[in-house]
Point group: C2
Chain length 195, copies 2
């Protein structure tokens, strides 16, 4: 079932569309199913799509020159994910974007998005608003990384995003919060040990 109700509601939270406009928008979308551990973006290949998670969970990460993983973003239901540097500039990706579970994505490709913004300028506004929000999110994350200890960042994360924390592998969460998986294990046990 290609159900576009959820993504239509998502868009409707930010801009009002006529039925005709909505139909046009939906006509530019496509649905993709990915299995756990499958990649939708890999370094070297240009990222063609902006992806909305209908069901499932994804993550974007970098592998550095010491072969360490660093998670840039998670995405669960009703979130977007991509290698935005690659997508926006249509240049080769540096990130992996991987399914953490079997996932259904709704995707729009770069050219369709450009066309959509030209045809319905309200979408210019839509993408401005969601990008602004992502920007604000990243800024908070930088401040959290600068001002808090590993333990505090972990506590903050499980409080703010319990549904993500309980759903993703610990090594992925550790690499998002900026410490080693071993250390996350130690934090966790100190925590439950006390209660």
């Amino acid at each position: 079932m290609n159900d576009y109700t959820k993504i239509k509601n998502y868009v409707a939270r930010h801009i009002q569309l006529t039925e005709e406009e909505e139909t046009y928008f939906v006509s530019l979308l496509r649905t993709t199913r990915v299995k756990k551990k499958q990649f939708i973006v890999q370094p070297g290949f240009t990222c063609k799509y902006r992806s909305y998670v209908l069901t499932g969970a994804m993550r974007a990460y970098l592998i550095d020159n010491k072969a360490q993983e660093h998670t840039v973003a998670f995405a669960i239901e009703d979130w977007w994910i991509s290698d935005y540097n690659s997508y926006i500039n249509q240049e080769p990706a540096t990130l992996f974007v991987e399914a953490l579970e079997d996932t259904i994505l709704i995707q729009i490709d770069y050219n369709a998005e450009q066309l959509l913004m030209e045809t319905i300028p309200k979408f210019e506004r839509f993408f401005r608003i969601i990008t602004q929000r992502s920007f604000a999110f990243l800024q908070k994350r930088i401040l959290s990384n600068l001002s808090k200890s590993a333990h505090e960042r972990y506590e903050e994360f499980i409080e703010k995003y319990p549904s993500i924390a309980n759903r993703v592998p610990q090594y992925a969460l550790a690499s998002y919060l900026g410490f080693s998986p071993e250390f996350l294990s130690k934090i966790r046990n100190k925590r439950t040990g006390k209660s």
Copy 2:
């Protein structure tokens, strides 16, 4: 001299305006002069303006509960600065935005910006594009913070932004890169000591 040539060129790099539109845009701007150490944004007050640096240098920073400063952003000529969380949502600021030198700013206030986007939808596009770029910048910074050592982050910064590194106080740069000012001093001396 209220010279709007530079900001007009800045805008022209992203969208094409008619003379009439440009005149309208400029009519919404105002020029503000701030002296070194003066604040344009303080926690608790809602940030009214998005500010473009005509000449001088600014920084935005947070003071955490241990009274430590953490620099979120620098801005020199041709850059924008604000507490965007406060500006975008028109809610009380959490950051200080301070002049590092005597600075001339060109500002647009929140209501004028909204009006501008309604009147000239091309500005919807303009703000989308500059926000996207800022987003990409922050994402790279997060990855750099996650994957690199203090020393590597310092080297990267002075290579990419020598004009900023040489212009701002060391404690401000240290608090941007995520380590103590004493440690920056040690990095620096190891460096020159070897050459």
